[in-house]
């Protein structure tokens, strides 16, 4: 039975299945009789010494946690700078880890979190503090290096593909006398993975989505509007999926162009779907609707991917295994077997190959005309949305999601004024 404490924290935008990873971490640690603390609101809670005693939660609650979206311990959008620039914060962090006999630190997040975990590892070595740091992958953006895919992405991708399919059926039914163009806004500031996943909604040249706008391709308004017009003429309606992050050839974000002043002179917020819808309406005179699913796409646990859920749990269990084996500065990543059928396993990868790197959509995944996905993209994406992850609903019609007690651990250090 290993001695010491395992500290787990969630970081960055949450997903439909990050709590499944958390539940797997807790379950695997319990099986090894290792005490698990969780930081409240990610690294912020570790700095503030706001720690949660997960042993206060029953096994039944941890099982429900695995099916609850959001981040049950709180997450954060905070990036620590370099060890030299942020020395005081890193030292405070080390003091907190030391005060609670933390021997294993698991940081569950994306690129930035991998970077933080790596820096904490380096710091501990500098100070001779025995600590194993593990980055645990999570991001709906699917943009982590090395790993074949990222837990959280498959569920957001499934939400995207299913929602686009459903909306397309709606628009197809109404197009004769009503909406002819529909614009769906997908998350993805720099990488078009979620926009690409919309391509799974249909097959064939006239199946929705008809046009996908990727951040990896410059937005050309004349070309886009001409393409919309041509699709409406051919199919009767047009379903457009746009990545929030698309840019003009000069690098400016198109969404920022959507910002302006409202009728009262108030500053307006941008948004790519309303912007594109406005252009279609004004330039083509077509009736248009648009959707901005926003957080719905990353929190829709009710529509999670079975593959994604399994992988989210697998990286959590592997993270505990790697931690207890002392595999410092690593991340459990997902490896894909060659060819069909789809097979995957988990393997360790060094954090320094992942930290701060960003994996964009390969050019081979984008159709020659720039407005759709290739068969290669489909082969990559489809297994990730495969399978369902059914969850029990309560009598009142709402899924059975759980709220943790989140019992605070007594502080052992003076309050931090960081």
């Amino acid at each position: 039975m290993p001695t010491g404490t395992l500290l787990y924290a969630q970081s960055g935008g949450v997903t439909a299945v990050i709590n499944a990873t958390a539940a797997a971490v807790i379950t695997a640690a319990r099986a090894r009789r290792v005490k698990v603390l969780a930081a409240r609101n990610g690294i912020v809670g570790a700095l503030r010494e706001e720690l949660i005693d997960t042993s206060a939660e029953s096994s039944a609650t941890i099982r429900l946690l695995a099916q609850t979206p959001g981040g049950a311990f709180g997450s954060c959008r905070v990036k620590l700078k370099s060890l030299s620039e942020d020395r005081a914060r890193y030292e405070r962090l080390l003091a907190v880890l030391r005060a609670h006999e933390v021997r294993w630190f698991l940081y569950n997040g994306g690129n930035d979190s991998a970077d933080t975990a790596l820096k904490v590892s380096q710091l501990a070595r500098q100070y001779g503090y025995p600590l194993t740091c593990i980055g645990v992958p999570k991001t709906i953006d699917n943009d982590l290096a090395v790993t074949d895919c990222c837990p959280g992405f498959g569920s957001a991708a499934k939400f995207t593909a299913v929602s686009v399919r459903e909306c397309a059926l709606d628009v197809a039914a109404m197009a004769d006398t009503s909406t002819k163009v529909f614009v769906y806004e997908a998350m993805g500031r720099n990488a078009g993975w979620l926009a690409a996943s919309a391509g799974l909604a249909g097959r064939g040249p006239d199946a929705a989505p008809h046009l996908i706008l990727f951040p990896e391709r410059a937005y050309d308004e004349a070309s886009f509007l001409a393409a919309v017009k041509a699709v409406v003429a051919r199919v009767g309606y047009c379903i457009v999926v746009a990545s929030e992050g698309i840019r003009y050839a000069d690098g400016r974000h198109v969404a920022d162009a959507g910002a302006g002043k409202d009728a009262f002179g108030h500053t307006q917020l941008g948004g790519i779907s309303s912007y594109l819808a406005g252009r279609v309406k004004n330039e083509l005179g077509l009736k248009v609707h648009w959707t901005l699913p926003d957080y719905l796409q990353r929190s829709a646990r009710h529509l999670a991917s079975g593959t994604d859920l399994e992988q989210a749990q697998a990286v959590g269990a592997a993270a505990v295994e790697y931690a207890l084996a002392g595999m410092d500065a690593t991340m459990p990543v997902i490896r894909r077997g060659r060819g069909a059928p789809y097979r995957w396993d988990i393997a360790p990868a060094p954090l320094d190959k992942i930290a701060n790197k960003e994996k964009k959509l390969p050019a081979s995944f984008i159709r020659a005309d720039g407005y759709g996905i290739t068969p290669a993209a489909r082969r990559y994406l489809e297994p990730l949305i495969r399978g369902e992850a059914p969850l029990p609903y309560r009598r009142d019609g709402i899924p059975h999601y759980v709220a943790l007690k989140n019992v605070a651990v007594t502080t052992r250090l003076p309050a931090w004024e960081g």
Copy 2:
């Protein structure tokens, strides 16, 4: 075995379960050996003599139809005027019905469709043409008179409540360092039924949604912003649900205020969620996100309500029964039994009690402060989102939705230039 043809048509905005009604109509008619034609794109197809022979679809396809969102035969947004104003169109309609020996006309829609069905009934009587007209209820707006609720609403309500619950878990996890206010835009131009259903997402004073804006209450910006500020101070974040149709005290739509000019001087489209988000950001300085689910909320068959699905099928079967019994100018409506547990049945109601009427949210359903629902609203709404309507997914991770062959019936009349 009754002689003649039954004509079924879909009208207005489609829903997650209108095809379940269509499937029930076809199944019930087949059991009585009655031939069913469907008009393509609602009344428009009846006028154009664009009719579909449903006998070309197998029983297996009709079963899949029952689980497919959208309107499989096409719907329309067309309202016929009075018999005197639109005489030529009504006479053309009668000519088409006569040419295809239509004895039963089932129009599946909302207020306007009930009005159309009633007028067609009156016209047939004027001309001595033997026809039974049945209005079949359908609307996510839940605003039809007489019926306790409307097929399509329960599923949209379930989508709303579940999505708000999921987004609230997301925001709760991030609020410490990121988004503190989230605005969800619900459909409902005049009646706040869907906004109210968001109230089912949580219970208790601090559970999301914290503020609901109803079209039945005048929007007061100072009061709203003060309420948001107070909730953020108390809870740490604030989930707002706004009906698209909210108005100022002087009757102007707030969403229209959101329209304006973008950075290039292009006319922008309105939208209540982006408008409110902009006000929160500018006036309170809080980080805000917003969602416009738009058609997602009415086409999400993957999250349909079990109760709603059953009712959608029941009104379809009853419509055929009423039609064959010659119960002209009626609608099968849903009646609720008194008290708990929730019980319902189907009963006939005269179309003239329903046509062109609009049922708003009762004042007793809106909390005294105007920003939430009452226990009476909860008692009414909750049974309508109860139960699931699971559907098979294909191997590729997408639900098994069907596309009909929609075989056209040979025309018997000269083309119409209406």
